[in-house]
Symmetry: D2
Subunit: 387 residues, 4 copies
């Protein structure tokens, strides 16, 4: 197996973007529980996100969600972030919460609603220009609940038209990242339900359009690492939304439900050239901390990605290739499992110490008193959530 020393520098390349909305409240249709210390403003969200980076060194970027994070002066917001040690990153457009979007946004049968959805995305590109962001991420809640409710084929054409207009407005260094999702909130058909649909639209749009793979957005049993390998091969994997799930789109902490799956995904990322600063593949989290504390939840998440990335990097590529070539099924599997079962935590603690980071970020954060402070300070106001 590869030694930890040999992968040390590669680990330093890791950048994980955290979502501003992870620090607000979230829940299910049954209940959104409040929690002490929850941010009331986008500035408080950024301050919390900055703590994740401070303690881990892994999360220098914060993704925005518009309109949840709408402010008058985005340049000032960027300055605020930089003062806290992070930068604003991907801009996520939201076309699913206005009453107009009840029957869809870019695929809505009503041209006026489609126009509104396009304009919202164009406005997001304006924000990208203000903050120097490169990525516009589009996730569409579009779909139908009942067979016959709308014309599936016509909706694809409307979608293609809307995306084309948005794409045309991108700057030279911009990207459109199109996310797909198996189902929810639509329960019969979804307009971008699978990687194939996102891929076909991105190919039609052009080089600046790539696919976003949310690890929770697949049918039961789907082999996600295969999709990773396929999209990397096709040159269209733009970003990950990491999280984990046992059932549907549960949005649990990445690696919590199936750590081995996360390992296999990261192995294919590394194998396919999707890891590192020049890969063009953005690592993002998209999770819901419904019942656990949010900042520690995010710290746990980026650490899970880091620990599993370390294991993926440890796979001995030559040994594996040799076993594969020889057709020795058990030996090839063993090479992979050997890396997975390696406990990298002590090595990572040393690695962090050597870089001026807390050896144990979770403990260091819990001991820092930050959580107690925000719980004491943030009294009153409206806790941030998905609205």
């Amino acid at each position: 197996m590869t030694t930890f020393d040999a992968i040390s520098d590669r680990l330093a390349e890791q950048v994980i973007e955290v979502p501003s909305w992870a620090y607000g409240n979230s829940g299910t249709r049954f209940k959104v529980f409040g929690s002490a210390g929850t941010p009331r403003t986008v500035q408080e969200k950024i301050a919390d996100a900055a703590k994740v980076h401070e303690f881990t060194g892994l999360a220098p970027k914060v993704a925005l969600h518009i309109p949840w994070d709408q402010v008058e002066d985005f340049a000032a917001l960027q300055s605020f972030a930089v003062e806290h040690g992070v930068r604003l990153g991907t801009v996520n457009s939201n076309t699913f919460q206005d009453d107009d979007f009840k029957l869809g946004s870019l695929a809505n049968p009503d041209p006026a609603v489609r126009r509104k959805a396009i304009e919202h995305n164009l406005m997001c590109i304006d924000i990208m220009n203000e903050i120097g962001s490169t990525d516009l991420k589009i996730w569409l809640a579009d779909g139908t609940n009942y067979p016959g409710q709308d014309d599936i084929a016509a909706r694809q054409e409307r979608l293609a038209e809307g995306l084309a207009e948005i794409y045309a407005a991108l700057g030279d260094d911009h990207r459109l990242v199109l996310e797909y999702k198996f189902f929810e909130p639509a329960f019969y058909h979804t307009d971008v339900p699978d990687w194939g649909t996102s891929y076909a639209h991105c190919v039609a749009l052009g080089d600046k359009a790539t696919v976003c793979l949310d690890t929770g957005h697949h049918a039961p049993g789907t082999n996600i690492e295969f999709i990773v390998a396929q999209l990397l091969r096709l040159g269209k994997l733009g970003a990950f939304d990491f999280n984990s799930r046992f059932y549907a789109d549960d949005d649990l902490i990445v690696g919590a439900a199936d750590p081995f799956q996360l390992f296999r995904i990261l192995y294919e990322v590394v194998r396919g050239g999707g890891y590192g600063a020049d890969s063009g593949v953005a690592f993002m989290l998209d999770q819901c901390h419904n019942i656990e504390k949010k900042i520690p939840g995010q710290i746990r998440s980026v650490l899970n990605v880091q620990e599993m990335t370390a294991r993926a990097l440890l796979v001995d590529a030559d040994e594996l290739a040799a076993a594969q070539r020889s057709g020795d099924v058990l030996a090839a599997n063993d090479v992979l499992m050997d890396a997975f079962y390696t406990d990298v935590r002590a090595d990572l603690a040393d690695w962090r110490s050597s870089r001026g980071l807390p050896a144990e970020p979770m403990k260091a954060f819990l001991a820092s008193g930050y959580q107690e402070q925000i719980e004491a300070d943030r009294v009153g106001g409206n806790q941030a959530g998905w609205n």
Copy 2:
């Protein structure tokens, strides 16, 4: 095949209980859309529910959800219902929306929270006494999101204790109906996730405890009609919550996603003695009309159940048994499919006319002007929803 005439009287036995909450707004974690004419009070909900019965003759009972439908004077509410031509039915307890219930209710690790959950159910029994209701329906959102979060086995014992205390408070003619659900809102384990768990608890409780089968609460691919047959055989099928789904617990209109499945379920109900006034099996709806109009959505739902019940009753039991005994797979399947493919709609229209009901309830309701009237009248106030 059996003739429609031969099943005419049996159709007259059908009673479907509608949920008060179907008339309020519902949605997903992403958005609850408002809609014109939505009730602001429980009285308005009952008035709407009464319309479903008026136009179909199928829905004489309205289920309550406490605290959503909490009022000071339940006897007065019952009178209000009766004046509108319906009666209050099953009382549904709700132990998932108080902040205390973040980590569960009857299975919560904190005894004070468990006490609170028990008291809530005892209060629901008081309401049952006030309105003369026989059924307490318990659906628990209890579960955990992360492995290790709580002790699965200990939670079962706490659950058993809590249920026992509630059960002990039931009156002589009361029933406790325990619903199970595969997942959501808990995403790792659910404390009553399958019929086996609900059944085991009901057996331990006694004769007054029975299982509620919600048709949307199963793992993908589960053969629901088998569970129906099994619970009927074991004498523990107490009630249905009807709805339909393509993915998770989508709560679409019953019969909308898989009409053939609804047919198979109703066939097993009829076959196993679960149909009719004396069967002890309550038919209820539990649906979400997130984007469609609610009263027509309910009318469509009860009609779907009625139409499919008619088809199930049309199955020629003798012919089927003969084909089954002979081992003729295709012939036996054909007997069943013959009934399913029979278009019963014209016969049902005649049947309704002969009983003084509108031949086409949906059209009659749409022509009645009721929807326009409530949309005009119900301006201002807080539209009812899941809170």
Copy 3:
């Protein structure tokens, strides 16, 4: 709703190709049950298939599976088929039963095995030339059972190379139809697991490559009609393999498990221009009659497709479009359901009679004595199966 008269001529366009292997024995890994009258030779399979066409008028073509249907003189086999009233159709290559293919065929790590797999497909093209067939259908059992067993990305490149060489050998009027499958016989990853992968390869190959959609080859809950609509829109839907399933790739009689799904699929086929002689979309069956009699099983299957096609054609497109445009969810759904719930069987019986076909093909076949005759005649020899 559209009248039956209005769709009468369109029904006459329907051609369903039946698979030679449906007449042989099939089963599960646990057991392949024999059955009286099963063909011992490809000629007997064709004779049986011809009966399906004789009684239904729907199945003038028989697909071959090589090497199961290997003969010395394919021109003579075509003549034999024509004498029986049918023609040989699609040629299915088989690269999963030789010991060499244990670790895959076109994606095998061993170049010698890949060569063998390519040569087998080239030989199938020779057979196509001999019989005048236009379609080479490729389904690959390729995949791995264990993570790490082989390099997922490298396998895609090998696959692409192999397909390219086969594609290059196609004649001007030939097509390569690439089937995808979610899983089985590989249990970790499959090399062509989804429509996106098949589509990406077909695009890379060129215009003569199209996707084959087997209705049983998807993850649980997948919206298949969406894929139909998408592939039609992208111009890459080449063929269907019809069957049905409750769980995995059960290969039950088409329409048996979820008739409403079959209806929705056929509606999208009609809607998207995939129906009829000039559509370029081949309708094929791919089923296993493990326990039911095979010829009646095939007759039931083509009738199911015909009955559901009739219902799909009955959908009133204008009425549906109007409801969709108005955003009336329930009304739009009702238009679709109205066609689905229409009992077309009596009209179809008349339609058949008027075209010189038995009004009730199943009854006519059972009364014909053919089954009894082959059960009496076909004694001894080796019953055909999957080997």
Copy 4:
């Protein structure tokens, strides 16, 4: 976390029963690949199984499958096993491969077939008496492929009757272990599809009847460890059939698909008192080595169970309980994950050495020359498989 020393003795209690059929060939309905060195006789299977025990010390028992392992003199077979260092264990009845069982065995509509199936099980009890085995394991392939094919409810009664007759023939120290399976080979309904059904029958039968949980026999997404906890609580968990799966009943090496799931299962086993000699819970493997070598496949399997048992034993119960009581979701999860991520392999190697076992069983076996020898010796004859 608990120390390895503290669990050392408990690891010595572990007994895993291996199935005789794992050493024969297996495959899918598409192909059963042969492999060099495969046993031709039950004696050769036992000899191979004995090697697994010799190198691991974990597998002193071999389960039989009747009639696959039928011999004239079972006492002699037991002596043969003992000479090789193992003993014969559970007797598995097989009522799914005779032509008579095409439509089921204990639930068959034909009383003569039911009689035959009962007699087969009684004969298995005779074998148990001959070899001193305590467990009769019954897995039934019974079910139907098409709705209507047979009467689901009537089949339950037939099943109950048949089981009762078999149960009555058990000796004082015998157990009947009833396995359930979600689907396959039946594709519409299965007569014992879930733990609830198996449990209800076992309760009706009596104390000597318990449930067998095959880890691959559940619907997608099912929380298996919950079922473990529930059955232990109810006193009805009799045995495990270990294996793993990504999709359906893939029968891959235990722990290969989802090692974390195996950990969670074993944690609940330990937690619920299901671990160790006196627990009454038998650990068995039930796997298919379709493409990998069989003896190393079995060695890998028992080692996977051992390694994961060690991790499960390492969980600090007090620390976990404290975190659970405090409602600290992340802390409780961390306690569990800490044990899971601990690399126990070096400690286990030392543990083995100290007990006279090879530190690295897999390497030791590969170096032993046994595989080469059987490949050279076992030429000719019919390789054992599922028939």
